[in-house]
């Protein structure tokens, strides 16, 4: 018994020494590979690009060398399609031997890569996709999220609107899992606070040519307000059509802030004015960190950074600071994730840290309204919900 333990110890020590001898020069020279799992084609290619440049900016701001190792980026196109996303993740892990993965815009891709990443035991920091279950029932010790969970974003909005006097609200979102999750979260809080759902519509994803028929139905329901979730092209279209149908002045428009994202609120212009939004970031947040960040971003790219960019920027900072804590070591991935759990900082959106209980971010949530700022439009913060944290939601912590 004793001898075997001793022999075992000896073997461990020898292996450790050998490992240290071989690993030392390697880790001094070999770069740390961060795999960007983002779409560069397909519907969300624009968001992928936004996150890519923001991640790079963070490398400049916080240093791309840790413990003598340079941080290099390797990329694979998810095409915003689940199967391509899975192939991209496999490429980053198997071929490029990435130490950390960062990215994933679409919830479909996240669902597709979840099991694989979990099995491969490579840390993934999700920078957008908000599927509740990824930091809930289907949480993984290896998947952290710097962006948000759907529920985290809208949970506070229902009670807030009920209190603000909007008693009857009409819900609308594309007919897909994310859309339903966001609407359900809103409904829960809103109904509990005494609100009434005046009606709800779920246009089919991807083939809606025209919001007209749905707006006509919304109008006929005569609600006090509409709570809708659209993003990207459809969001631009929706806000404009909403105004054209004369609804802007009669039925208050509200929704998760992607409806009037910094990426395109300028294009929506006056039609977006007065839209209530709830989100984890708006460019107008009044803090030194945010102002400095926006200035640097504007100098580089000539426009405001968006919430998408911030999520990637903070993810990069999370990676860098965790690496600094491990001295640049990446071999012990469990230690690396543990270091990520200990990272805390004040970023553009306020205090940032990862909740070790769910691996989801703990962050401020901002309720704001679109107003004219100078000669353009932007969201102005009305109220801040500090340090919003998800309940475990069925996540049983693995480590």
């Amino acid at each position: 018994m004793k001898t075997t333990t001793l022999r075992g110890l000896g073997r461990v020590a020898a292996a450790g020494l050998l490992g240290a001898l071989t690993a030392l020069p390697a880790s001094a020279a070999s770069p740390i590979k961060v795999g960007l799992l983002l779409p560069s084609s397909g519907v969300f290619a624009g968001l992928g690009k936004d996150q890519d440049i923001s991640f790079q900016m963070a490398l400049e701001d916080f240093g791309d060398e840790v413990g003598g190792r340079k941080i290099v980026l390797v990329r694979a196109d998810t095409e915003s399609k689940p199967n391509s996303g899975l192939a991209a993740a496999k490429k980053l892990i198997l071929r490029d031997r990435a130490d950390v993965l960062v990215g994933v815009i679409s919830s479909g891709v996240l669902g597709a890569v979840r099991d694989y990443v979990d099995g491969a035991k490579v840390p993934l920091i999700v920078t957008n996709a908000g599927n509740d279950d990824i930091t809930g029932e289907k949480c993984s010790p290896w998947i952290l999220r710097s962006s948000f969970s759907n529920d985290q974003i809208v949970r506070e909005m229902g009670p807030w609107m009920a209190r603000a006097g909007y008693k009857r609200v009409f819900l609308m979102a594309f007919d897909y899992a994310g859309g339903h999750q966001l609407m359900d979260s809103f409904r829960k809080g809103f109904v509990a606070a005494g609100g009434e759902i005046a009606g709800e519509e779920y246009p089919p994803l991807g083939e809606t040519k025209d919001f007209g028929p749905y707006l006509a139905k919304l109008k006929a329901a005569e609600p006090d307000a509409a709570f809708v979730f659209f993003a990207g092209g459809p969001a631009i279209k929706f806000v404009k059509e909403y105004a054209a149908f004369g609804l802007k002045d009669t039925v208050k428009l509200a929704g998760p802030g992607w409806l009037t994202s910094a990426l395109y609120v300028g294009k929506q212009g006056a039609d977006a004015e007065g839209t209530l939004s709830i989100l984890n970031y708006v460019p107008s947040i009044d803090s030194a960190e945010n102002k400095g960040f926006q200035e640097r971003f504007r100098a580089k790219h000539g426009r405001d950074a968006s919430e998408f960019g911030v999520a990637a920027y903070d993810a990069a900072r999370l990676v860098i600071e965790a690496l600094q804590a491990t001295g640049g070591a990446t071999d012990d991935r469990q230690a690396l994730v543990a270091a990520m759990h200990r990272v805390q900082f004040n970023g553009p959106r306020g205090p940032f840290r990862i909740d070790p209980a769910t691996n989801n971010v703990i962050q401020n949530i901002y309720i704001s309204e679109v107003e004219k700022i100078g000669d353009t439009y932007g969201a102005v913060v009305k109220e801040v919900r500090p340090n919003v944290q998800d309940a475990p939601n069925g996540c049983s912590k693995p480590f």
Binding site: D77, N83, K90, L94, G108, A112
Partner: protein, 330 residues
């Protein structure tokens, strides 16, 4: 029916090449490239039965891939069926779906057939996109792989599973070769050439076309089952029209009407796609790396070019060159 002296040497060569590649490959090639090639080769070969033999140009073949994938996903995840049972069920359900759909679409010829298959494919896609019981657009995960532990094989190993997939593709090839060389296959070719005359000769051509449609769909269903096992995941995208389109491109690229051509087309397409979508390849050519995101542009142009100047595809071209040199000039 037609002599094809190049067929056997090509297949032998292709099998040897795949075996050699598999032998020397790393995890990534096993898990991604070889597996994808095997899966798409099955799809392309089954589509070739329709396009190259029966003359039915379908732009909705991915619908049956999707159906097969969802059947396996549903049966294994919800009902806990063993994969070995879910696989034939996938082929069966896809075949039944084709029987229902096909009983009217096979009546339509040429361009109308293209349009209706495109529409039906999109209908299936739209259904899965909305089907909340199957996870709607998020799809389903946690689909197990075929259990071959009684053979001492661990299918979680990319090398093992890619070998399984390659062997499945070979089996599909052999099955389809038997079919196309049979009297039934010859009748399909005749129907392609002159449907009216085959009917006037007393053959219920719709039933024959339906048979091909069902068989091709069943194979696509099987490929769907294997696809979902491979990725342990299923989503509506599998049934999207671009997948059907890519498979059709593979068939045309490789050369329709030979079965092996479709497999070659799948190899060529996927190798080219992987190469084109890597920034390093463009860098090596001295071209801007942003083009790596635009491999579809290159693929689309290549496809147009193939249709324009080499409609018989890679294999057809090779066969023609051989025939020109050979004794059977004519």
């Amino acid at each position: 029916m037609r002599r094809d002296p190049l067929q056997i040497p090509t297949v032998v060569l292709l099998v040897l090449a795949m075996a050699a590649w598999w032998h020397g490959a790393d995890f990534y090639v096993h898990e991604v490239l070889l597996s994808e090639i095997a899966l798409f080769a099955m799809l392309a070969m089954s589509l070739d039965l329709l396009v190259g033999y029966a003359g039915m140009v379908s732009l909705g073949h991915a619908a049956f891939l999707g159906i097969g994938a969802y059947v396996t996903a549903g049966l294994t995840v919800f009902l806990g069926w063993p994969v070995a049972l879910a696989m034939p069920a996938s082929a069966l359900v896809a075949g039944l779906a084709a029987l229902v759909v096909g009983s009217f679409v096979v009546r339509l010829g040429g361009v109308f057939f293209i349009m209706i298959t495109l529409a039906i494919g999109q209908m299936v896609y739209a259904y899965f996109l909305k089907a909340r019981e199957f996870g709607a657009d998020d799809g389903m995960s946690g689909i197990p792989r075929l259990d071959l532990s009684f053979l001492g094989l661990d299918t979680a190993d990319p090398a093992v599973f890619s070998a399984v997939l390659l062997l499945a593709a070979l089996a599909v090839y052999l099955l389809l070769r038997v079919v196309v060389r049979s009297p039934y296959g010859a009748t399909l070719v005749a129907i392609h050439q002159n449907e009216g005359r085959v009917r006037a000769l007393g053959c219920p051509v719709h039933r024959y076309k339906l048979g091909a449609y069902v068989l091709a769909a069943a194979i696509a269903g099987l490929a769907g089952s294997l696809t979902t096992q491979h990725s342990s995941f299923v989503s509506p995208d599998l049934a999207f029209w671009t997948v059907s389109g890519e498979v059709l491109i593979m068939v045309i690229l490789g050369g329709g009407g030979s079965i092996v051509g479709a497999a070659i087309g799948a190899c060529a397409f996927l190798v080219l796609k992987h190469w084109l979508s890597a920034g390093e390849s463009w860098e090596a050519l001295g071209l801007p790396t942003f083009m790596a995101d635009h491999w579809q542009l290159v693929m689309g142009s290549l496809f147009v070019l193939v249709v324009l100047v080499a409609a018989d595809g890679i294999y057809g071209r090779a066969r023609r060159l051989l025939r020109r040199d050979g004794p059977q000039a004519g």
